[in-house]
Amino acid sequence: MFDQLFDAALLESVVRAMVPILLAALGGMICERAGVFQIAMEGMMLAGAFAAMAGSYLAVSSGLGIVFGVTAGVLISLMLAFGTVSRQGDPIVLGIALNLMALGLTGFLLPQIFGVRGTFRHERIDGLDRLPIPGLSEIPWIGSVLFDQTILGYLAFLLVPAIWLLLFRTPAGLRLRGVGERPLAAESLGVSPTAYKYGAVIASGVLSGLAGTQLALGNLVLFAEGMSAGRGWVAVVAVMLGRAHPFAVFGASLLFAFAEGLGFRLQGNGLPVQITDALPFLVTLIALIAARKRFARLLDLTTGG
């Protein structure tokens, strides 16, 4: 039974599941570093998926799909930034409300614009092409797993070290982390916390928009109501589990995606769907318990204590 469990196809599936989560989680991580508690990734991802589909349909171009997806993510992130940064609103309240708004708005616009409810597929929707890297993609196992991605898949992988470099080696990263840690201190040295926080939230809007684009044009070529299906929340957990460190966040996203892929595989091996469905969430809970030492900031934020 287990000889059928692990193979390249499983890893491909894991990577596909991981890419949107990772993109969103990287954005959430930048926000966390800038001191903005960001739980609106679910909504930004969903809006991104819808807009990417719409853009690709209207222009028959996946490139424009990406632009639309990013724009939608950014628009919601601006609402979040305005509410939390400019108006000092509660980020948890705003995050939850924006997630539900995105769910409602995409569900509203789908029939109003495209005349269908539920799912919209059309040949005009131009998907993101896979771009196998010649040579590398032929390597057994890792070739098909790593070197046969959409442009956003490659981007997600490259962003992990790039964001690490940005955060921990560049002046901008130093300032961003400073803003997140002590906004007043940053301000007194002429670094505007507002600007950096806006920047971070908008960056997460871009990344979550890309995550949604990957969902609607990369992993699939269609839009379905609520198609983000909790992935944005998983990204929140990944940020927390990875303690806002790029490589650890990558690991956390991978863990969840792996558990999900494994769950699909185990179902094929006869395990009831009810059990395999819960697997990624149980694995995440266990990982949280194992890594529980330092969630103090989140705990303080959410308990007022």
Binding site: G89, L105, L110, M240, P272, L288, F295, G305
Partner: protein
Amino acid sequence: MAETQPIQRSGVAARIEAVLSHPVVFSLVFAFALGWVIVYLTGNDPGFAYREMYDGAITGSGLRNTLGRAVPIVGMALAVSVAFRAGVINLGGEGQMVMGGLAGSLVAIYTPGPGEIVIPLAMIVGGLTGALWAMLPAFGQTRLRLPILITSLLLNYVARAVTGYLVRFHFLDDSVTLTSTQQVPQTARMPRLPIFGGVSLSLVLVILAVVVAWVVYRRTVAGYETQMAGFNGRFARYGGIQVERQTVGVMVVAGAIGGVIGTHMIIGDAYRFIDGELVVSGLAWTGLLVALLAANYPPMILVAGLLFSGLQIGGLAMQRNADVSWRLAQVLQALVIVAVASRLAFDLFRRRRRGPTSGELESAGVGEV
């Protein structure tokens, strides 16, 4: 904390301004105005749509359905607010509702006896199950320092799987084509009252629960201590309040309310526990929005719960008759909260900043204590 009006204006203008200055009122106006624009931009007549929504919510069978849907919305809002008020961010209402709903309905289905005994028993078992389920994230936070915000959310998915598994493999009614338990026998169904065309007795219970919450909040040591912990956990701890124990306590109460509501949804509404059905409505999430809009203030929970219920039922009528998707209701609900949380206020548009406490979402409870 009323703003002093700097200039006396004519009566009506001043009155309108005063009403609009209330952040919740302003946010409602803002959300509906934005909704108007959205409907207009998608090529429909917003005035007609809103009229259909309004009529649909309060006329014909709409009124009963609005009242009926308000039961779980108000109930889940109360469950959320009991925890939120004490500073405990419980996003696990869905899981607590589902777990309690299954346990309660199994009692109703399999316990022989008169309704006077079976119905309360089902509610109690449902409530206890919801409470037990809520204790998992509570102890996770107090013992393992895992934020309830995250664990309660993750446990929702686990609860769905657990109930799905139980129904599919242990309590399946194989005479129907769904993954479903047997039907709740007639005797064990929540009675309906001969008002508004037959609303469930649960409506009365839920109103009672809101009143009880209000009295407890205002009049009891527990109400005081939970609010103090919600305002400032370190202050509460310093003052001798056992915040950890209290966290478990409010989660137990929240979970119990969720479980009772879940039970009501089966024995008072659907009459069968169908795998996944309790989740699709997003009632726990609507309840959460209501609790946020009401700033945990019980009378306002009732008002906001009825409002959101009406929006959803009316939205359905709008979709039927004006061909504008009922999802608009969902958008409006979320927009109201976004506006309130962003402290959008009338003053903002007069380019004069308010003091930091005005329009503050959380502060609506301050006057209470």
